[in-house]
Symmetry: C2
Subunit: 140 residues, 2 copies
C-alpha cells in the first residue's frame, strides 16, 4: 500500500487528509489499471481494510475525481466507473451488442483545445464514451 502514500502531500497541500480508506481505494485503482465500478472497488478495498463501507467508497471516488487523482468514465450501460489518473484512452461502445473498443486520447486532443477556447472552460480532460454500431452489428 506504500504506493498510495505518494498522494498524501498532494492532498494535504489542499487542506484534505490522507486516511486508511483513501489509501485502500487508491491502492485498488492503482493496481487495477482499468476501469472499475464502485462496487468492485468496494469489494477489493474491503480486503485491505475491512471496516470500509459503501457510502465511503462512493464519496471517495467522487472526491478523487474532483481532485484529479482518478478519472470517471461511463460503462456500456451508462454507469460510472473510475480509473487511476494517467491512463489516457476513451471508448466506443456498440449501441446494439455492447462490445467496446479503446481509442487513443491523441485523436481528441485537438477537439479539447478547441472546446476550451470556445467555452472558456479549462483543463478539459475527461474520459469520454461514444456510442455507435460495431462492424458485426452493422450486418443485421
Amino acid at each position: 500500500m506504500t504506493c498510495s502514500l505518494d498522494y498524501a502531500p498532494q492532498l494535504r497541500a489542499r487542506g484534505f487528509r490522507m486516511t486508511s480508506q483513501r489509501m485502500a481505494i487508491l491502492h485498488v485503482l492503482h493496481h487495477a489499471g482499468t476501469h472499475l465500478s464502485p462496487t468492485e472497488v468496494y469489494k477489493q478495498a474491503k480486503r485491505d481494510f475491512p471496516r470500509l463501507t459503501e457510502p465511503t467508497v462512493y464519496r471517495t471516488l467522487e472526491f478523487l475525481a474532483r481532485n484529479g487523482l482518478a478519472h470517471p468514465s461511463h460503462s456500456s450501460s451508462g454507469h460510472l466507473t473510475y480509473q487511476i489518473a494517467g491512463e489516457d484512452h476513451h471508448h466506443v461502445v456498440c449501441r446494439v451488442c455492447g462490445s467496446e473498443i479503446e481509442i487513443e486520447h491523441a485523436l481528441l486532443e485537438n477537439l479539447y483545445r478547441k472546446l476550451e477556447s470556445t467555452s472558456g472552460y479549462r483543463r478539459i480532460n475527461s474520459h469520454v464514451t461514444f456510442f455507435g454500431v460495431c462492424p458485426k452489428c452493422q450486418l443485421s
Copy 2:
C-alpha cells in the same frame, strides 16, 4: 399524444410493437425538448397512463436509445438522462461546481467521422459530456 404515433411504423418494421406505455413516454420526451431523468419521465408519463411502472420506464428508455429514437446522455452527477432524437448538442460540465454549458454538435462532426474510419464503428452519434473547470472555478 398523436405525435407519438408517427413512430409506430418504424418500430413495426423492425418487429417491435407500439404500446400505450411507449406512446406516453415518447410523448413526454417529445414535448420536453431537453434531457430528462428516468424518474422525471416516469412522473410525467404516469399522468397520461397511470398504470405505468418504473421498470417499464427504465426498459423503454433503454429500448428507445438502442433503436435511435432517443439519445442518452449523462447529467453532471453521471446519471443517465434521455432526450428525444433530433436535438443535437453536447455538454461541458464543471468538475468543481457542476455548472454546465451546451456546445454545438458541429464542433464534433469531424471527430465522429474520424472515429468511424479508425474504429470501423458506424453511426456514431452519441451525446457526449465533457468535464473541465469553468471560468468561475478557475480563480480559486
